[in-house]
Symmetry: C2
Subunit: 253 residues, 2 copies
């Protein structure tokens, strides 16, 4: 079966978590909104699914995945579905819920990262909410960012099967998503990430391993991987990142 | 088995979605943080679970549910767990994922409702972010609120088994959560809710039916149901609600 992924065509966004799972699974899929409208695809096709009032179980927003007759929405829900089918999640119920719980916590972090540049409304441009964004980003860098990363670092540290995976002893969609979140945070907040006091060596090591997986590595080098940009969820605005670290020489004056 | 629910003791918050499911299930449970610290419970017990570094699968934040040896976090994840055990969700995989997808979309709406009074940081008081809250609340009332409610109203309208339930032909945790969201929105934004142009008659009817369920009705009349208040997720600040509707007589002048 060939999956159809529906997501905005010019950003990684939340769709990227699904893309990474599909790529690692070696699944056949079409990234519909990035295909030609002349061929019945493109954003027009995505909008048709969102607006069609005859759909019994409609998604609220992209990303959504068409799998045969089914349309599945909500990023973490899609990953739970794919994880079970493509050996990217534990098979026991407790492990399955634990992986999903971590994914939902990652989704919370992603929303917070998004809201640093859109604290007022998604319908407004960043330029229309810059003062509020500075305040929200400062609070995010000070509290949420270290708390979330400290938590995820501890998940690797606590894993009784070793520090290689977020869940159990094999690769899961949670590892792929964790890689994506770390990449996004490094793009958006390079200084803040470098200045985090406790660091996150296990997360860094995990990110490196995921990036080196043959299928992920090939994907990242392909045109299918969109670059980070200033329209996505993770955006780099210098004024929202930490200030440069002061040099020791200055402090001792 | 007696469940142990861990959530902040003075608010409905996200814990309320779990409480409603436990109540409707007729499940035996302790609302741990509302019990006495002298008896080893209270907020101190909640904090112990959050801070204990020996827990292999720790929750990031309340609510979390202890079920035997397992600790399950993330509201929607807890509901998926309880739904399967207490006949509050479809039993087929497609139905189970669909119910969960709706719950995750409700969770998104809840986060937006929360952020109307906390657009900058959860660590700050409302009074420290009032101008930003006014802007965010105005955008929420104008765009998100009607879009989300229009979506959920349409879910009832599209249900091929009739308009009585969000999913399928029997009660699920999604119905309970939908009731709670409607109650919260009516408390927080009474004017905006009354002024919504298209209305939401099916959601109103569903809310009435859920409130009248014998177990839910008994719960709502009990002391176990905390009142809405100004510390929770749904808060009523007049300045964040819509302005009074102008009278027709004024318009015709």
């Amino acid at each position: 079966m060939r999956y159809e992924l529906f997501y905005w065509p010019s950003i990684q966004g939340r769709g990227e978590f699904v893309r990474l799972a599909l790529e690692q699974a070696g699944a056949e899929y079409i990234d519909v909104a990035r295909e030609s409208e002349a061929a019945g695809m493109g954003v027009a096709a995505l909008m048709r699914w969102l607006e069609d009032e005859t759909i019994e179980r409609p998604p609220y927003a992209p990303p959504f995945l068409k799998a045969g007759d089914r349309i599945i929405g909500q990023t973490a829900n899609i990953l739970m579905f794919l994880g079970a089918r493509h050996d990217l999640a534990p098979t026991d119920e407790a492990g399955r819920l634990w992986a999903h719980q971590l994914q939902l916590t990652l989704a919370d972090l992603v929303t917070h990262a998004h809201d640093t540049h859109h604290p007022i409304a998604g319908a407004l441009y960043y330029e229309e909410q810059k003062p509020e964004a500075r305040r929200r980003a400062a609070a995010f860098r000070k509290d949420r960012l270290p708390k979330f990363l400290g938590y995820f670092e501890s998940i690797l540290r606590r894993n009784p099967h070793g520090n290689d995976h977020m869940v159990g002893e094999t690769l899961s969609y949670v590892d792929l998503s964790m890689f994506q979140v770390m990449a996004g945070l490094r793009y958006a907040f390079p200084r803040a990430m470098a200045q985090l006091k406790r660091g996150h060596p296990l997360l860094d090591a995990l990110s490196g391993r995921v990036a080196a997986l043959p299928r992920i590595s090939a994907y990242l080098a392909s045109k299918r991987r969109l670059p980070f940009n200033q329209k996505g969820i993770f955006r780099h605005y210098r004024e929202l990142d930490a200030r440069p670290a002061r040099k020791a020489a200055h402090k001792s004056k």
